[in-house]
């Protein structure tokens, strides 16, 4: 056991202890604690929790690498995954908060007055969240495994048991406060190395400002090498693919149940607006830093690794070559490693930075704790979404509406434990399609939840038949396009499977509008409830009049 092992172990154990301690302290006692944290989370903390919920192991480890490998075309992910918060905060979150339910499927069921719509939405929530969580579980396994030098399967099991324990105990209330802690850990771990790297390369501690000069130098290097320049747009796909991907990621973000439900945990519409603003600020800290990581890493690889004699590469490259993430092959046989002879895996960019910049054992340990925090916080949020769909939307609303509070808490807790363990077991040997399905989750969410919620909030005429048709058509078109583009070679304007959401969402909106107009309008009560969402809590719409609640007499309803 070397120092590095002990330091990494200490970091991971201390953070695990912190998360468990928080969950024990914030144990859920009532169902409203368990599903929506008692609806009293202050907006700034909810912003941090949304940030941790949202940023997964893939964002933490892979985002910067994607930008480095894809150049400008990778920026579609940065804009798409941040722009989604505009749609969410402007068009949906405050209204959904005013409607005041426990889950997203429950909103769809009650707003459209349809049990079938609620069940379809519940099943879609479970499928999307479950596949997404398998990626998180195997991600946490890889991190624990690599840094503690154990088999990654043992790491996965440790991760799954930890999530099962603290999510089941604390419910949404516990998860909220563990996510706040996890956000602090992950953002510190992400920013410290990039700031040191900026200092070393540019003598400026602000990477966001200083990486411009590095990009300038790289453009010169690219031209000398005669390769396609880093900043040149649309080298990986067409402009339409870029736009379609960006739309899919934005609409998908606004339709992911585990993110939306975080907006249910605050007290008012105003608090929901502020949560969205804080959330994007906290998320932006990471997303604005990823392109800086990408530029610095590419620059170091170009200047310190490429062009060196093959037997005199920097020492840190050896361990990454061993893992297969960095491939160096002197194919031209001239004894010099050329840039074109380097093959770099996305995941190396962030994880190798502490070694590249020679930051020592503490930063490597911190990085491990940060990557774990990113994986655990997202998995925790997903587990709560799955458990709420199972125990609330399906068990309580459809199977046993007379269940006692105690019984419902027990069902909620057991469904978290079972879902975490099931995801952990599948993650031991993940089917290859999982990474694909995670990428498709956004297309599926933008083809199903996004149109259903958008029209549900903004168009009172939309009815049960319309939303059922919309969700089914949206899902079929999205899946159909994904398979046609991926396996059938069929594309429109060069848009590939990852941009399928643009077709799914359009088809779902058209189907919802057409079927709603062709069938009976929803009941007067539902239409009034939708109009009511236009106003803050204090204003109520009833019988064609708007009332302001000033705390005095309440007139009887007609």
């Amino acid at each position: 056991m070397d120092t590095q092992f002990l330091v990494s172990l200490a970091f991971i154990l201390v953070t695990f202890g912190l998360y468990i301690g928080i969950a024990v302290y914030n144990q859920a006692k009532a169902t409203s604690d368990f599903y929506v944290a008692g609806r009293g989370v202050p907006p700034i903390y909810n912003g941090m929790a949304i940030g941790a919920d949202w940023m997964s192991a893939a964002s933490f480890i892979g985002m910067a690498g994607t930008v480095m490998v894809m150049g400008y075309d990778g920026l579609g992910y940065i804009m798409g995954w941040t722009g989604g918060y505009l749609l969410l905060t402007f068009l949906m979150a405050p209204q959904l908060r005013k409607y005041g339910r426990y889950t997203v499927p429950e909103f769809i069921g009650d707003r459209y007055g349809s049990n079938l719509a609620r069940l379809i939405a519940a099943v879609a929530t479970i499928i999307i969240s479950f596949t997404y969580s398998i990626g998180q579980m195997s991600g946490s396994g890889v991190v624990i495994g690599r840094l503690l030098e154990v088999d990654y399967r043992i790491g996965t099991i440790i991760g799954a048991c930890l999530i099962a324990f603290y999510s089941a105990l604390g419910g949404m209330k516990g998860i909220t406060w563990t996510q706040v802690a996890q956000y602090c850990v992950l953002i510190t771990a992400y920013l410290v190395p990039v700031i040191f790297m900026a200092l070393q390369l540019t003598n400026n501690p602000l990477p966001w400002i200083s990486y411009g000069s590095i990009i300038e130098e790289m453009r010169v290097l690219d031209r000398e090498l005669g390769i396609s320049e880093y900043v040149v747009p649309f080298t990986e796909g067409t402009k339409w693919q870029f736009l379609a991907l960006m739309f899919t990621l934005m609409a998908g973000t606004a339709g992911l149940p585990h993110v939306i439900v975080r907006f249910y945990t605050v007290s008012t519409m105003k608090a929901a607006r502020w949560s969205g603003a804080w959330a994007l600020l906290f998320i932006g800290l990471l997303y604005l830093s990823a392109p800086a990581y990408a530029a610095f890493s590419r620059f170091i690889l170009m200047t310190q690794v490429a062009g060196s004699p093959i037997n005199q590469l920097p020492a840190w490259t050896a361990s990454w070559v061993d893992t297969g993430m960095l491939q160096v092959a002197d194919t031209s046989g001239d004894g010099i490693l050329q840039w074109q002879e380097l093959q770099i895996a996305n995941d190396i960019v962030v994880m190798a930075t502490p070694e590249i910049a020679n930051l020592g054992v503490f930063v490597i340990g911190l990085m491990a704790a940060g990557a774990m925090a990113a994986a655990l916080s997202t998995a925790g949020g997903l587990m709560i979404a799955i458990s709420a769909s199972l125990s609330h939307d399906i068990y309580f609303r459809s199977i046993n509406p007379n269940a006692s509070d105690k019984k419902r808490l027990a069902v909620g807790r057991w469904s978290i434990v079972l879902a975490s363990l099931a995801a952990g077991v599948i993650a031991l040997n993940p089917p290859g399609a999982i990474t694909q399905i995670v990428a498709w989750a956004f297309a599926l969410a933008s083809g199903s939840f996004f149109p259903a919620l958008l029209l549900g909030v903004w168009w009172k005429r939309s009815n049960a038949k319309g939303v059922i048709a919309g969700m089914l058509v949206g899902l079929s078109v999205t899946l159909g396009y994904i398979f046609a583009a991926k396996y059938g070679g069929f594309t429109i304007l060069g848009i590939i499977d990852t941009g399928a959401g643009v077709f799914g969402a359009s088809a779902a909106i058209i189907a919802n509008v057409a079927v709603s107009l062709a069938t009976k309008p929803p009941s007067q009560k539902i239409q009034e409830e939708v109009i009511d969402l236009r106003y803050p809590e204090q204003m109520t719409y009833r019988d064609g009049e708007v009332w302001l609640d000033d705390g005095n007499d309440v007139p009887p309803s007609k």
Partner: protein, 100 residues
């Protein structure tokens, strides 16, 4: 409970919706608009970075963050102008939700 003139209620909704449309339009211009015109914009350089790349990596995200905070602040002002009291909202909000 006090009845509000329909016109006042409508103008509240219209103000909020108009503002949201403006924010969304700005958000679309800095993201989709810049991507559509990426080639001509790449001739311009900002802080050493071609403008299309700068907007994708920083400009759009910073604009989104600013828009969300502007929305939060301006919405609070609009609420205040229409006599909405957040403390009342909170007590009504916690009473009206379906906590079943």
């Amino acid at each position: 409970m006090k009845k509000i003139d329909k016109k006042v209620a409508d103008s509240y909704f219209k103000t909020r919706t108009t503002l949201i449309m403006i924010y969304l339009a700005i958000g679309a211009i800095v993201s989709y608009g810049v991507v559509l015109f990426a080639e001509p914009l790449s001739e311009i350089t900002f802080n050493g970075i071609p403008l299309h790349y700068y907007m994708g990596a920083q400009g759009a995200v910073l604009t989104f963050i600013i828009l969300l905070f502007v929305n939060a602040i301006v919405s609070d002002k609009v609420d205040k102008k229409y006599g909405i009291d957040e403390a009342r909202n909170e007590s009504i909000g916690s009473g009206k939700t379906v906590d079943h």
